[in-house]
Subunit: 226 residues, 2 copies
């Protein structure tokens, strides 16, 4: 897929921006008008040059001795990430993961609102999860069109992922947050971000198996050697 970034801002900068927000909000609450890039970089263990570059890339520049204006920074990041304007999302797949994500209350502060879940299983359809109704997948296209929902969160079984993504795009979905391990083949204009929990857990587990079967690693590097 073609890398679409906004106004040439790098993928890594975009990934770091949400991280700055709790610190900026705390500074605002404490009544600070300005914050230095050094304070931010020290807090996160980042290079101050990198922090200044990140902040400059969204159009906010600091002033010598004063630092960066906190309120403008928060507003700038929120606008850049679209947090000033909640994006609505449909979850496709009302299994364990879909239900967990629908029940997670933390996406609101990141500009995402889950509106409903969809499933093909008659036993799941009609149930209500965290105030969101599980709706029959046959109604997906008409609801995307009526409510103009731009995002689909994909939590179907891996073998059903490509078909579900194709159906979502045919219905007018513009972005897919893919929580399945399936690598989707999609048109370039469609925005896709993948979070592969099973893959991440596989790496963790296999390293743990490896570490526990070769205990010498721990003798060389005691776990409490900080």
């Amino acid at each position: 897929m073609k890398e679409i970034t906004r106004e040439g801002v790098s993928y890594m900068t975009i990934r770091r921006l949400p991280q700055y927000m709790p610190l900026l909000r705390a500074a605002l609450d404490a009544g600070d008008h300005c914050v230095s890039s050094t304070k931010i970089s020290d807090f996160f263990g980042l290079d101050p040059v990198l922090v200044r570059k990140d902040l400059a890339s969204i159009g906010i520049t600091g002033q010598a001795r004063l630092g960066f204006p906190v309120r403008e920074l928060i507003g700038g990041i929120e606008r850049f990430l679209g947090w000033d304007n909640l994006s609505e999302a449909f979850v496709i797949g009302a299994g364990n993961l879909g239900r967990a994500l629908a029940g997670y209350g933390g996406f609101g502060q990141h500009g995402l609102k889950i509106v409903a879940l969809f499933d093909t299983d008659p036993e799941k359809v009609g149930k209500v999860i965290a105030g969101k109704r599980v709706t029959d997948m046959t109604k997906f296209a008409s609801l995307v069109e009526r409510l103009r929902v731009p995002i689909a969160i994909l939590t179907v079984p891996p073998e059903a992922a490509q078909d579900a993504a194709d159906a979502a795009i045919a219905a007018g979905i513009k972005a897919i947050w893919n929580f399945t391990p399936t690598k989707l083949t999609l048109p370039d204009a469609i925005i896709v971000e993948q979070v592969d929990l099973a893959a991440s857990l596989a790496v963790l587990s296999s390293r743990l198996v490896s570490a526990t079967r070769t205990p010498r690693q721990y003798e060389e590097q005691p776990v409490n050697d900080m």
Copy 2:
């Protein structure tokens, strides 16, 4: 952090292994004794050479014309990923995300069992989430030692992440599944895998903002042009 892989198997191979399992289990259920690497590669849109390399790397080799033995493959991957032996985990941070992960029923089939949640907030301590009790963080170290729990799942606020990780490691935790955006500084022997949902969502949202503010992209690439 030093990359720890098992017997030289690459990070990307390990990440792909869980993906093969549903197909292999379906083949077993259908009574197939063998499966060809081409069948697997076609299904996932992968290079067959890559699939053979992945499977060979866990010590299973195929036979000409017959393919790979399904039962051995499943057993081999399960052993490799430690799925044959449930690893127990404590969740640190009983906020929205911690509760969602504790309530997610899908980790069991990936070899992970969440045993309890921990928090410092007296209002959260004592609550029961999906059969798991939220326990006071002061009891964390003694419970890690008594139950020999190797994994901590970190879902605390970003500014509390490093301290929580340090406490976990001092208590004897060997692996941290880090769901905070904080880049942790830890001893080399500690296994860390990070899942940064906020960062992934930030990339998705900023691309969506970008796409909706430059509608020309969609005229050039109609969303239903499959």
